[in-house]
């Protein structure tokens, strides 16, 4: 007769503890206490806690999920001696291995869908977006942009804008744009130009001031028209939504790992942004050549831009490091590539007189500017 195995039995109905003795047989575990008894079928018994924390083994039974048996000390060893199958760790390990393999495979599939599927889908989705919808989006973005920079106004502005649109029209003739391009000058402190969804192109007065020839500005316009033609901003919006929603939805919990994945999503997105910029440069060169302008002029403007930001002073590997984190390709390399295309043009994009009308226009010089900081000069 083996020594008796003692346990504390809880019947799952009250919190009362019952001092019980256990008997192990072919049909399972027989539990007997003074007031209650129970029989747990052999194949339904589960080890819920191996006791490595509090030193207490906890058993349950699948057929009655609230019943519990707690064993400690020598009683655990005695039960292990007669019922080793209750102490077999292998089934739990196998289940865990299956779970981990399944999750890793599932995560790889989801990750591939987000990191590669979303960017791949962005171009066809942009092409399928109704033109009216893209125009509406462009209007809303323009309205939001108006909050951060002012539109230049006044009679001189009207003339300069008309001339810029003239140049844009000449370029647009060689593009396959679904939208009419509409160039506007805005007043802000950064030399820059933007293409909005729906064909609106914004060019800042600072960039115009920095340009030294009409072909340089024509190059900028060609680049932005290429964005409009390719519907790059619409692609960006779809990518943004896909990455933002899906990645944010799946990634969660543990701080650093979560942030690392979200950051990698953003870096990944930038790569596609730079691809679009390169594509726009290529298309811009084609438009410039077709319109008879000098495509190399753009390179000179980029070179000047790089000098103002100090990027031209950096080593090539430093610039490569920065490029990885930026929205645009390395500007110095872009400038060099474009300047190599320097070719005599059939004629400048604007006559000297017209160019000076554009060039000597600046929002701050505009007498009729209604919100100039000192009431105009």
């Amino acid at each position: 007769m083996p020594p008796e195995i003692h346990a504390r039995y809880f019947d799952g109905k009250t919190a009362a503890a019952h001092a019980a003795t256990l008997a192990w047989g072919d049909d399972g575990l027989h539990i007997s206490a003074a007031a209650v008894s129970a029989h747990w079928p052999r194949d339904r018994i589960r080890r819920l806690d191996d006791g490595r924390d509090a030193g207490i083994l906890r058993l349950g039974v699948a057929s009655s999920p609230d019943e519990r048996l707690l064993l400690d000390g020598d009683d655990v060893a005695r039960l292990a001696a007669i019922a080793p199958e209750l102490f077999d760790h292998r089934p739990a390990r196998r289940a865990e291995r299956r779970l981990v393999i399944g999750l890793v495979a599932g995560a790889a599939a989801v990750g591939a869908a987000i990191f590669f599927g979303v960017p791949m889908a962005a171009r066809p989705l942009a092409a399928l977006t109704p033109l009216a919808m893209e125009r509406n989006i462009g209007d809303a973005i323009y309205a939001q942009a108006r909050l951060t920079f002012r539109r230049c106004e006044g009679s001189q502005e009207a003339r300069a804008r008309q001339l810029l649109n003239q140049v844009a029209d000449q370029l647009e003739r060689h593009a396959d744009s679904p939208f009419d391009v509409n160039v506007q000058m805005v007043d802000t402190f950064m030399p820059n130009a933007f293409a909005l969804p729906g064909g609106r192109v914004l060019i800042t007065d600072e960039l115009v001031a920095m340009a030294e020839s009409p072909d340089e500005i024509a190059g900028v316009l060609a680049h932005e028209i290429a964005h409009v033609e390719q519907r790059h901003v619409m692609q960006l919006i779809w990518r943004d939504m896909g990455f933002g929603l899906l990645l944010d939805a799946f990634i969660g919990g543990s701080g650093v790992v979560q942030q690392a994945y979200l950051a990698s999503g953003r870096v990944f997105q930038l790569r596609y942004g730079r691809e679009a910029e390169t594509q726009a440069d290529t298309r811009a060169v084609e438009m410039m050549q077709a319109a008879g302008f000098n495509p190399g002029a753009m390179g000179r403007l980029f070179h000047r831009l790089a000098e103002t930001t100090g990027e031209s002073d950096l080593q090539e590997d430093q610039r490569a490091g920065l490029e990885f984190l930026s929205t645009h390709p390395d500007i110095v390399a872009r400038a060099e590539r474009l300047r190599a295309l320097d070719a005599p043009a059939s004629g400048p994009a604007l006559s000297d007189e017209d160019w000076s009308a554009v060039k000597h226009f600046g929002c701050m010089n505009d007498l009729t500017d209604p919100v100039a900081p000192f009431g105009g000069r």
Binding site: K13, T14, L103, A249, S254, G255, Y261
Partner: protein, 370 residues
Amino acid sequence: MNSSMEAAQERASVTLEQKGGAGEFWALGFKNWILNVLTLTIYRFWAKTNTRRRLWASTTVNGEPLEYTGTGMELFKGFLLAILLFLPFGVAIFAAQLFLPPASAAGALVLVYLVLFWLMGVAVFLARRYQMSRTAWRGVRFSQHGSPVAYGFETLSFTLLSLITLGWFGPAAHMRLAGRLWSQTAFGDRPFRWERPAGDAGEPLYRSFAVAWVGFFLGYIGLIVAVVIPLAASQNELGMDRPDVQKLLIPAVVTAVAAILLSLMAAVWHAAVLIRCEAQSVRLDGLSFTLNARPWSFLWLAVTNALLMILTLGIAAPVVQLRVVRYLVTRLSVAGTIDLAAVNQAAGRGPSQGEGLADGLDLSGVDIGL
């Protein structure tokens, strides 16, 4: 024969112990972290579950361990449900930004934030309901009753009231929300009660708050002075090169650091008072609770836990949780007795999935206090 009759004399006092070994929790942390990385963080539901199982199992009440019966799959299902809710919500926010004029977009954003604050309350309630339903001792389950929707509205309205009163409603809001939760919590069929001790027996709630508020206010002003003045000087024509501007820099940094430390200490002191107040207001049968959470030990726990998380890139998460539970358990004393044999299992096993909302809103700190 009726077992509860037989054991009717089992009126017991209650002692809590925490027996978890840090080594085991470090190992768990490594495993969780690596699997999180490999699975785009989807393993987090199983990681959380395994950590809770170990935490609960290593916490004993009268020598018998608590039990966590939740599974990773239940949390994963909750997550999938929450995605179904959040994706249309996310698309709507995205579309509002794209299509609406700025004024309406700002209006929509305010609405979104109101809904979010409401949802946070709902999420806290649902997470607690799930965790309570998956917590058992001696085979008897805990449970959380009441309406998550109503709790969400109370959270929202209290948040707004706290904003309007510059935070002064905050402590009262905290106690009311805690009271609402605890008075609808039960162990088996035995309800917890919420009774603020009257008069001098109760900890003063607002003394520490007033100090913390003033500390925070002064800290805030100090920070503005310390950051804004040199910044303004560098922005305008004065320039950072001028010696008188540079002379300001060191006192500014000292002021900023002092201000942050001061307001942090005041906030921690008040936080310790809050959890002490909460503990002494909870009752179960004949039991009452006292939590000896002192400001310095509380501050030490908060700072070291934050450092552990930062320095280990989150690997220490289970260890940090263990330290919190150990702190609470060793400092919690329970007075009075409870007739355990008279505690019956209550009907209802709780929700079949859990915490999706809390996960979606990144409320990862929602773990029930003991």
